[in-house]
């Protein structure tokens, strides 16, 4: 590609620059030369004038002394005939002219004569001396220190300029030709050596801009531009390689990005789904799908706030299935769960859309009915009774089961959720004891609850009579299959009612103040047992359940600390289990307990994890070592993919926090295998071993270690 010279911006600028510089330089030089020659000519003329004048003055002395005016006149005449002399005048001291010669061919003479308006040489001389184009020189003619006369000579300056002007013209002409020659030479050289290579470089650069790397710059010669072209070619090749490499990388990145986006989208969908499930599970009973204790209590609080603001009433129902325990014990938990699910489906059928129903735990349900009075509450209670009347379908049979319902009303039976629930619970027990279906709380129910009071008294008595016993359920390391610890589980051998599960008397103990005594008994015996096993060579981790009421007991750390010392127990082998709901509702106390210096080294586990509504950040703040997944998630995880996903999520999250994960309620080999696949650390459940008395544990562990390792 060739750009016409004069349309090349660079070339045009270069031409202008060269022309400008040359013009200025030549003009300046010409002017300098002209001025120099003019000055030189002027000086020469002045010297010449001085020379002539002095000589003339010198030789005029004698003629003047002898009044040889003719000679003076001859001198003046001869002087005036010299080139450039305009006038020669001798004036005596009275300004009388002795001789006068004017060159009348010079216009200045006639002009001065006209201005003088006189022929008198002195007047004309006076006019002449005003003119700048004449070099005026005066020479006094002195003899014996007396001025005889004065010689005045005028020289025309104009001829001085003739030669300098002529030289100037010659110089300008030659300089112009020289400048044109030099300018053209430099310009052509510039075009050939600079502009064309630069154009070639620009053309190549444009090609590179458009990712055309195939056109090579070829310049002849050996200079900076050819070096630049060579470097440019190397850069072009490097860029070409880099672009090709980049394109390949981009393609790979694009593919990876697409793949990553697919995976992220897939993972996001899974997480969204999982989050929805976790959220739902956190707020709902996983077995029945109803609101769990936390959610129903929250809704109750909301209803209380609403009623308080709007000066309305509300009702709380506590519903407990009659004889459910027997059915559960007889037919097994799965059958009991079937009943619970069906109950959960039937209750809403008796309620309004604004009412809420939830499962508090076991076979106990709660219903919140906003803006309702006692009459209508009883009507709803009756409706629930009615929907419970049809037989419940089990896997292989049907059963009839009814419920006892207790009702507490806001605000007359309580102004907070705890009071309302407790009073509804009292009313429910009243119904149960009196074989009534529905009872509205009355104060006399609560104070005079013979069964509860009796059970409370029995429990106190049982503590004293050693009716309580600890059973231990082994926990295994899923990876190794080895038993590493046991969970201490309280059993009450009631003299009349037989073995009473903790669910039935722990609540009474908590409400009666016996819970601290009960917990002390459990801890003391568990640690003593640990010592006993340890002494026989069996060192196990022991997990001990702590009630919500215990964590606010300031004596508990002291008690545990003393026992650790007394039995020389390794603190790290002791693990205190607090339920998720306990921790959530007593966060500060739980944290204070866990951080108590007396309990240094002791480990902590979150029990029944998944049933509460705990945030991950919330749990991260606690010095927890172990998380025990609630058995409700474990039971069906081999059949229910959703349950398995939740378990997987809990395991992953827990591991992310650095905690050990324990799965409760493992009842078959499939669940155990899946837990192993999901990376669960530990497991306990009927499939591994049922809770057993301490004396049987050593044998059970031996069998387990040998069996599970096979």
């Amino acid at each position: 590609m060739r750009t016409p010279y004069l349309t090349s911006a660079l070339g045009r600028q270069f031409v202008i620059l060269i022309a400008g510089v040359l013009t200025v330089a030549l003009l300046a030089n010409a002017y300098f030369q002209y001025e120099r020659e003019k000055t030189s000519a002027y000086n020469k003329l002045a010297e010449k004038g001085q020379s002539i004048g002095k000589l003339l003055a010198s030789i005029s002395i004698a003629p003047l002394l002898i009044y040889d005016t003719q000679t003076i006149n001859e001198f003046a005449k001869n002087t005036s005939e010299q080139y450039g002399v305009i006038y020669t005048i001798y004036l005596d001291n009275e300004k009388n002219p002795l001789t006068t010669y004017f060159n009348h061919s010079i216009p200045a003479i006639e002009d001065s004569i006209n201005k003088a308006q006189s022929a008198d040489p002195y007047d004309v001389l006076t006019q002449l001396k005003h003119r700048q184009d004449i070099l005026h020189q005066d020479f006094p003619i002195i003899f014996n220190q007396q001025i005889l006369a004065t010689l005045h000579i005028g020289f025309d300056k104009k001829p001085l300029l003739t030669e300098p002007q002529h030289n100037l013209e010659i110089y300008l002409g030659s300089s112009l030709l020289f400048g044109i020659f030099i300018g053209l030479t430099i310009y052509i050289g510039f075009i050939r050596k600079v502009s064309r290579p630069v154009m070639a470089l620009r053309h190549s650069a444009k090609n590179i801009i458009h990712f055309n790397f195939n056109e090579k710059i070829e310049l002849s010669g050996n200079n900076e531009l050819t070096d630049l072209a060579s470097t440019f070619n190397q850069m072009r090749i490097s860029l070409k390689n880099a672009v090709e490499s980049r394109d390949e990388s981009l393609e790979e990145i694009e593919n990876l990005n697409i793949s990553l986006e697919d995976r992220v989208r897939e993972r996001t969908n899974a997480l969204e789904e999982l989050n929805a499930q976790v959220t739902h599970q956190a707020m709902h009973d996983p077995l029945t799908g109803l609101a769990n204790r936390v959610l129903i209590i929250e809704r109750l609080n909301q209803a209380i706030d609403y009623a308080h603001r709007n000066n309305t009433r509300l009702a709380v129902f506590i519903l407990d299935l009659n004889n459910f325990k027997e059915i559960n014990d007889t037919l097994g938990h799965p059958e009991g769960d079937l009943i619970l699910r069906q109950v959960a489906k039937r209750i809403p059928g008796a309620l309004r859309g604004s009412d809420s129903v939830g499962r508090l735990g076991g076979d106990e349900f709660a219903v919140v009915l906003p803006d309702i009075d006692e009459k209508h509450a009883l009507e709803v209670g009756e409706k629930i009774v009615q929907v419970m009347q049809p037989a419940f379908d089990l896997s292989s049979q049907t059963v009839n089961i009814n419920a006892s319902i207790g009702i507490a009303l806001y605000p007359e039976h309580g102004e907070d959720q705890a009071a309302l629930i407790r009073h509804a619970d009292v009313a429910m027990y009243h119904s149960k004891r009196n074989s009534q279906m529905v009872s509205v709380y009355r104060a006399d129910f609560d104070v005079h609850t013979p069964w509860r009071l009796a059970l409370m008294a029995d429990l106190k008595q049982g503590l004293e009579n050693n009716e309580l016993e600890l059973h231990y359920q082994p926990q295994i390391d899923i990876k190794t299959g080895q038993v590493y610890g046991v969970e201490a589980l309280l059993r009450w051998h009631h003299p009349a009612q037989g073995l009473i599960p903790p669910d039935h008397f722990i609540n009474i103990a908590e409400n009666s103040g016996l819970i601290n005594l009960l917990t002390d008994w459990v801890i003391t015996n568990a640690l003593k047992q640990w010592k006993s096993w340890h002494d026989t060579g069996l060192t196990l981790d022991i997990s001990i359940n702590i009630s919500a009421r215990n964590i606010s007991n300031p004596a508990l750390p002291e008690t545990i600390g003393s026992l650790l010392t007394e039995y020389q127990i390794i603190p790290e082998k002791i693990k205190l289990e607090l339920t998720e709901s306990t921790i959530m509702t007593n966060h500060d106390s739980a944290l204070a307990l866990m951080c108590h210096p007396k309990l240094k080294g002791i480990k902590y586990a979150i029990d029944d994890f998944g049933t509460g509504y705990s945030s991950l950040n919330y749990l991260r703040q606690l010095p927890v070592d172990e998380v025990k997944i609630d058995k409700s998630f474990i039971f069906d995880m081999d059949k229910n993919h959703g349950e398995k996903t939740i378990v997987q999520s809990i395991i992953d999250l827990t591991h992310n926090f650095g905690h050990i994960v324990v799965a409760e309620g493992v009842e078959n080999i499939d669940v155990l295998n899946q837990l192993k696949q999901l990376g669960c650390d530990s497991a306990q459940g009927y499939y591994i071993a049922k809770p057993a008395p301490a004396m049987e544990i050593a044998e059970i562990i031996r069998q387990l270690n040998s069996t599970l390792n096979e």
């Binding site: 003629p63 002898i66 009044y67 040889d68 005016t69 003719q70 000679t71 006149n73 009388n96 001789t99």
Partner: protein, 278 residues
């Protein structure tokens, strides 16, 4: 010493023609060389033209009678006749006149009306004290007018024209010179002579004399007198005269200069002021 024109064609002793330094040497030779050649041809005898750089040198030649033929002014002749044996044979005719008068010349605008007005003034004489017209005659006119030495300031110009010119140029109040000077072209070329006038003038007296030694043989003297007197009779001779800036050379005798003798005596006394010729 003056330059000599030598010729070996003649056997007789060369005649020396001396011309007084009225003009400079070069001009003198230029003017009178043809005349000298004419005399040589006429006399068939070498005539050597000579002059001198100044009057003193020239006068030495007169005093030693080195010149056979001599052309000088009237005062020179009177003294030479008296002391050194020279006799006048011819006299100049210039501008058609064979006489000349001494003058006191002034500017017309000078305000001077008589000789007495020159008292205390500067008189510029056209020659030295041996100059007949430019000094002796002018001084005689001043004496006749009542002004004696000390009544005026004497100044001397290099020659008579310069006396006139300088007076014109106000370098002096009056000029002393011959009446013919103001008519010279050289003067007219420099000044406006119409602005000058004679304040006083002597009678007309014979012009510059040509004299020969009294010892010269009669034939030679007559040949010289006759041939020169006849120069204006033919073109060739006229050319010689023209070259010498003369109209003619008229015959003259010693008594023609008695008027001069009287004036000289009036000015210098009976000894003719010969000390001025030393």
């Amino acid at each position: 010493m003056g330059n000599l024109i030598q010729s070996t064609a003649f056997s007789a002793k060369p005649l020396i023609l001396g011309v007084f330094p009225r003009r400079n040497t070069k001009q003198t030779f230029r003017l009178f060389t043809p005349l000298a050649k004419f005399l040589s041809t006429t006399l068939n005898r070498e005539v050597r033209l000579t002059t001198a750089k100044n009057f003193a040198d020239f006068w030495e030649g007169v005093k030693t009678q080195r010149y056979d033929i001599v052309h000088f002014n009237q005062y020179h002749y009177i003294v030479a006749k008296e002391l050194y044996g020279y006799e006048v044979i011819l006299k100049n005719q210039e501008f058609g006149n064979s006489t000349v008068a001494g003058t006191i010349t002034i500017r017309k605008d000078s305000g001077i009306r008589s000789i007495k007005d020159l008292k205390g003034k500067t008189i510029l004489f056209g020659g030295g004290k041996r100059a007949m017209q430019s000094y002796i005659s002018a001084k005689w006119l001043l004496q006749q007018g009542g002004l004696n030495d000390g009544d005026y300031i004497e100044k001397f110009a290099i020659n008579p024209p310069n006396a006139i010119i300088s007076t014109y140029l106000k370098q002096a109040d009056a000029a002393g010179c011959g009446d013919v000077i103001i008519r010279l072209d050289t003067v007219k070329a420099h000044i406006d002579v119409s602005k000058m006038q004679y304040l006083a003038r002597t009678e007309q007296l014979p012009h510059l004399p040509w004299a020969v030694k009294t010892s010269m043989d009669e034939v030679t003297r007559l040949k010289i007198q006759h041939s020169l007197n006849r120069l204006n009779k033919d073109p060739a001779g006229q050319a010689i005269l023209d070259r010498a800036q003369l109209s003619a050379l008229n015959l003259a005798v010693d008594s023609d200069y008695d008027g001069h003798r009287r004036i000289i005596r009036d000015v210098y006394g009976d000894d003719y002021g010969v000390e001025y010729l030393k």
